[in-house]
């Protein structure tokens, strides 16, 4: 059903949440490599508001698992300095929505020092940050901002949809010599108090393993339409594909897994095979991910049976009231309806 199905190992299953998979990945890397440390707000005693650093303080102590003041510019800047002298900081920006107070340290410092230094000073830094809404936390705590980060050069951008990928992508991120923005979706995190999309809880091998960046996963194969998504949207797409399957439409679901690098080849191949494209994105619609994917496909010149479409968050701040927020979010029902239209249009 999900990406992991294809690589399910020959052993007893061990289901983990993304939060646990992230914490396990960080712990394994901290054991392996003394230079890895963790910084952020509430990541020590609390174990992270979203649980992804739970247990680290107990095992590694306060020197390597550091709670910070509410000084994002300061501690992300500090992490860049640590990286410059040989540490490999994993930093948490609690909600991606807070990027505005510290974007300079991210995009103009961490993301550019390697280039500015002509490669002398790479910046091995993971910035993990929660994204996504749907639980009534309003416009400063519910954004995805995928496009905001993917647009700016010098950082890799990772968005896992399930625990298996989260672990492998996190290990890869920590080992990467570049800044990696690791965007985890709250609805997939496995924190009971946020609800959890069940598909995000997957079997996770005990050993450390890497998932390479720039390789999208085909989570479900199909010949009628390619549905491209990422993060929580993947599960909506899989649910929709299930329904579409019941009415005879075979949807292929592509989970991007990383936005930078972007696996254009897989998207283009899937669209070429199906002749139809639908992008599902929980970030704001305009000037973001959905536009880029559509443009990447059409400029490649693949033949399309119908115009590509997208379902994204509208260009409005995220409203608090569920009566306003829920209808604005992508949903399996919207995907089914749109996919159906595309398939009918392009017969």
């Amino acid at each position: 059903m999900t990406a992991t199905a294809t690589i399910l190992p020959n052993r007893t299953r061990r289901n983990l949440t993304i939060a646990k998979a992230m914490a396990e990945a960080i712990a394994q890397e901290m054991r392996r490599d003394d230079s890895v440390l963790v910084l952020g707000e509430d990541i020590a005693a609390l174990g992270g508001v979203f649980g992804n650093t739970r247990g680290l303080l107990d095992e590694f102590g306060p020197a390597r698992v550091r709670d910070t003041p509410i000084s994002e510019t300061g501690f992300i800047g500090a992490a860049v300095g640590m990286a410059a002298v040989g540490l490999r900081p994993v930093v948490e920006l609690m909600f991606v929505d807070f990027f505005g107070v510290c974007m300079d340290a991210i995009y103009n410092l961490a993301a550019k020092n390697c280039y500015f230094s002509g490669g002398q000073s790479p910046v091995p830094l993971v910035l993990m940050t929660s994204v996504g809404g749907g639980y009534g936390d309003a416009g400063q705590h519910s954004q995805c901002l995928y496009g905001t980060f993917a647009h700016l050069p010098g950082m890799k951008v990772v968005v896992p949809s399930n625990a298996h990928d989260a672990k492998g992508l996190m290990i890869r991120a920590i080992r990467d010599d570049n800044p990696v923005i690791f965007m985890f979706h709250k609805a997939l995190q496995g924190m009971g108090w946020l609800g959890t999309v069940q598909g995000s809880i997957t079997d996770v091998p005990e050993d450390a393993y890497e998932i390479p960046f720039g390789q999208a996963a085909i989570c479900r194969a199909g010949n009628d339409i390619c549905i491209v998504s990422l993060g929580a949207g993947v599960h909506l797409a899989l649910d929709a594909a299930q329904s579409l399957g019941e009415e005879g439409i075979a949807a292929e679901v592509v989970d991007l897994r990383t936005l930078v690098p972007l696996d254009r080849a897989t998207i283009i191949a899937s669209t070429a095979k199906t002749g139809r494209l639908l992008v599902v994105d929980e970030d704001y619609q305009s000037f973001g991910v959905s536009g880029e994917i559509i443009a990447s496909v059409v400029e490649s010149g693949v033949a399309l049976k119908a115009p590509p479409r997208r379902i994204a968050f509208p260009d409005i701040p995220i409203p608090f009231s569920p009566a306003l927020e829920h209808p604005a979010l992508p949903s399996a029902a919207k995907i089914v309806a749109t996919a159906r239209q595309i398939v009918r249009a392009g017969r």
Binding site: L46, F98, V101, G136, G139, L324
Partner: protein, 326 residues
């Protein structure tokens, strides 16, 4: 400066009203969230930051303000909103996500705006400081006697906006007062772990402005110190910084188990409302009958607000697309 009996009664009743309001909100918040606590469910979804214990800060400061004065509050805004005179019915409706809410359900608990009384708040730490300085500067520019007050938590005193805003307030000599509600915690991080100085009033000197620390979560002391700072601002004598010792009686937000908090610390905190009640009874400003009446009145207002909010209609989905632009 000491509160007049009338001010005392307003302060006390406002604290009571705020507390009852939050009790009702908390009760509603838990609806639909059991057996499994899922923030997304129930009539009030999302994070919920209660201010129980911090009411003295709100009333001690807002006693000196009127509707024309500009206030920016934080993610923990209810007590301040109520003390500033925000429309209680519309605020409750907003928290319930209803069309009749202050913002038609667009904002919710962390985005309470009532332009009629110049109140706003924000979910971003220290974000309100710049706007308070700006509003105050506008008042000064137009020779109005209005002032601005920005409430922040002690955790916010380590955010860059704190520094930039205070410097700006000082060089522009803006009629603004920055009030730090020091409840000793920023989520799970203790003040001593996050802040290089024990008291943030020490930081006022970095801006050449007066700094004050008020101990004991004491409404009377807060009233006095805030009153002087606000009078000073109103008289055109410039900005001040006040840090108030206060108590977070509940967790950071509802659902916070506070496992990080040292044993016994929370239990040792005193609730300022019974404390003030006893004091006013002792001073003869309040008697049990008046207390009952004040409390009943507060309760009635809150209950009316909550039931109107519950009864109100949700906005229709199309309304999400309105008010993005004026």
């Amino acid at each position: 400066m000491r509160p007049s009996p009338k001010q005392w009664l307003w302060m006390y009743q406002t604290m009571v009203k705020s507390r009852i309001f939050e009790e009702r909100i908390a009760a509603a918040y838990f609806e639909g969230k059991s057996p499994v606590f899922n923030m997304a469910n129930g009539p009030i979804p999302g994070e919920m930051h209660l201010s129980n214990g911090q009411e003295p800060c709100a009333v001690g400061v807002c006693a000196h303000l009127d509707a024309g004065d500009f206030v920016t509050a934080t993610h923990r805004p209810h007590h301040i909103a109520i003390a500033k005179g925000v429309d209680l019915d519309a605020m409750a409706a907003e928290i319930f996500g209803k069309a009749t809410g202050l913002s038609g359900g667009r904002g919710g608990h962390m985005h309470i705006f009532d332009a009629a009384v110049n109140f706003c708040c924000s979910g971003i730490i220290a974000q309100g400081m710049g706007p308070a300085v700006g509003a105050a500067t506008a008042f000064k520019l137009r020779n109005e006697r209005r002032v601005a007050v920005s409430f922040i938590g002690e955790g916010a005193a380590n955010q860059g906006a704190f520094h930039e805003s205070l410097n700006l307030a000082a060089i522009w000599q803006a009629p603004v007062v920055i009030v730090i509600e020091d409840n000793a915690w920023g989520i799970s991080v203790a003040k001593a772990q996050s802040t290089a100085v024990p008291q943030n009033d020490a930081r006022a000197a970095a801006y050449g402005m007066p700094g004050h620390r008020v101990a004991g979560n004491d409404p009377e002391a807060i009233f006095a110190v805030a009153g002087a700072a606000i009078a000073r601002a109103r008289a055109g004598e410039g900005p001040s910084l006040i840090e108030i010792e206060t108590h977070r009686l509940a967790g950071h937000f509802i659902g916070d188990a506070e496992g990080y908090r040292p044993k016994g610390e929370k239990e040792a905190l005193t609730d300022p409302i019974p404390q003030l009640r006893a004091k006013l009874l002792g001073l003869g400003i309040l008697d049990p009958t008046a207390d009952r009446a004040l409390t009943d009145e507060a309760e009635a207002l809150v209950d009316r607000a909550i039931s109107k909010a519950r009864a109100a209609a949700y906005p229709v989905p199309e309304q999400a697309y309105e008010k993005v632009f004026a």
